[in-house]
Amino acid sequence: MSDKGISRRNFIKSAVVAAGVAGAVPAATLADKSMALAAADNKVYSKRKLPWWVKEVDEPTMEIDLSKVERFNGGHTAFALPFHLGKAKADEIQATYDRLVAEAIRENRPGYKLKDRILYEAGWTVNRQGTTNKGLYSWTPIRVVTPEKLGVDKYQATPEEAARDIKAAARAYGAATVGITELKEQFIYSEADGKKFMFEDVDQPYETEEKRVIPKKCKYVIAMTVQMSLDNLATAPAATAGGTVTTAYSRAGFLVGTLAEFIRGLGYVAIPSVNDVGPSVPFALYAGLGEVGRFNRLITPEYGPMVRVVKVITDLPMALDKPIDFGVMNFCKTCKKCAEACPSGALSMDTEPSWEPKGKWSAPGKKTWYEDAVKCLEYWRTGALSGCSICFAVCPYSKKDRTAMHTFVKATAATTTTFNAVFSNMDDAFGYGAQKDPDKWWDLDLAEYGVDSTRGHKDA
């Protein structure tokens, strides 16, 4: 038959192949865009639609032994250099920092010029409009009118409906992704700023000279991500990279402040928090926003590590999300790009994660690649002169999404570990993660905040 052209049987064979190829491209594209489901069938879609290569799992891929997680003193994070290094050494580091910042500005060093420096500093503006339970981060209504004052019933909904509504509101206020998990008290700081965080059977949160009290009825945490700009981060460790970090923190402050007001307006308690009440990453991990990678930051399927993570604690009952697995833990075992690139040597080069923290700045109870966070902080002050972020920039998951090849790589890494070493090496060979010229950043014509807010969403 072949000498008369293509046979019917062969034509069908070819057609099947063609249809497969033709179908794969749009199918993968649609899946990657986290296609939201149409609500025409009246079903309440409280969960975000994940790409097909992301699996929901019962426990986070980073092993956590909750029985060994003790509430951490918020005053002992790596930022507390006097606590870890002593006051004299901390003062010396601070003095060096002040001197080097001024020198860099006077020398007009690319990425450290006055305009670069102020891009970084001014980015904090909104974030710093308050601290724990003050200003933007108030635990009680700021200006919203509560149902009680209006004389109406408070918001009533099923947990699924409430989750859907909260997630929609959070996205409207600037969240990139939103997940809901239960409040695990172990992840709330024992104390910070000289005040203890306590849980009591009370109706409203309150604060005294000694303590800040979270009502025990607040059993839910809304974990959210705010995107950072890869165009900024690619200039790391320059201050231009820090510019997107501080701006994202300000957007995070706006997000948690407004979402908390929204929840209070519905008649419920809301406690907004960036990193003050406790770390946000554990909640994001349980809420299925991503996995924790080698450099102990959240790596999301949509944006890689290019996010800041925040949360709102509330008593509004909502449907919970589950942790996710898309191969990050296994990928990080092979890929050590962040650790190799870290100028301070703070990141672990071990292949396997460990249960042993490297210092008092880390809380035990999790199996991870513990970092020497104080070494990292010292480099911030004496080398990067801002927030460094090299580990974020070089991570192979830090990519824009202008080519489907990135989705192909992520989907393959999520499915099999076979090619992880190849992908990591190719990432280097292709030049990803190399520092971009900070001076050229000022010439870019970027979208607002330097991010693509349509990523990961269909109805954009």
Partner: protein
Amino acid sequence: MWFVLGALVAAACIFLWRWAKSNNKILSWLDWLLALMVTGGVLMTFETVVGSIAEGEPRAAGLSFLLLGGVTIVLAILLWRRITGTGRKAQKAGLSQ
């Protein structure tokens, strides 16, 4: 970009069909499969190169062009030799006229 890619696919199909017709060539299923792979290769190369340039990653664009484009060119040469009958195996097998 998807419009351009669609136009490229359509142009490739029309070109192959017209070329085969005008030269009185009879294509086997393997020729069509190869043609499909070449078209897919061109599309993937185009999408990756254009995407990488848009991302500001010229090195990634160049290497994608070399790797994906290289494989596509090899496949295209194979296809060409088969359908023009210049390939030794093709001549032996008599798959082309």
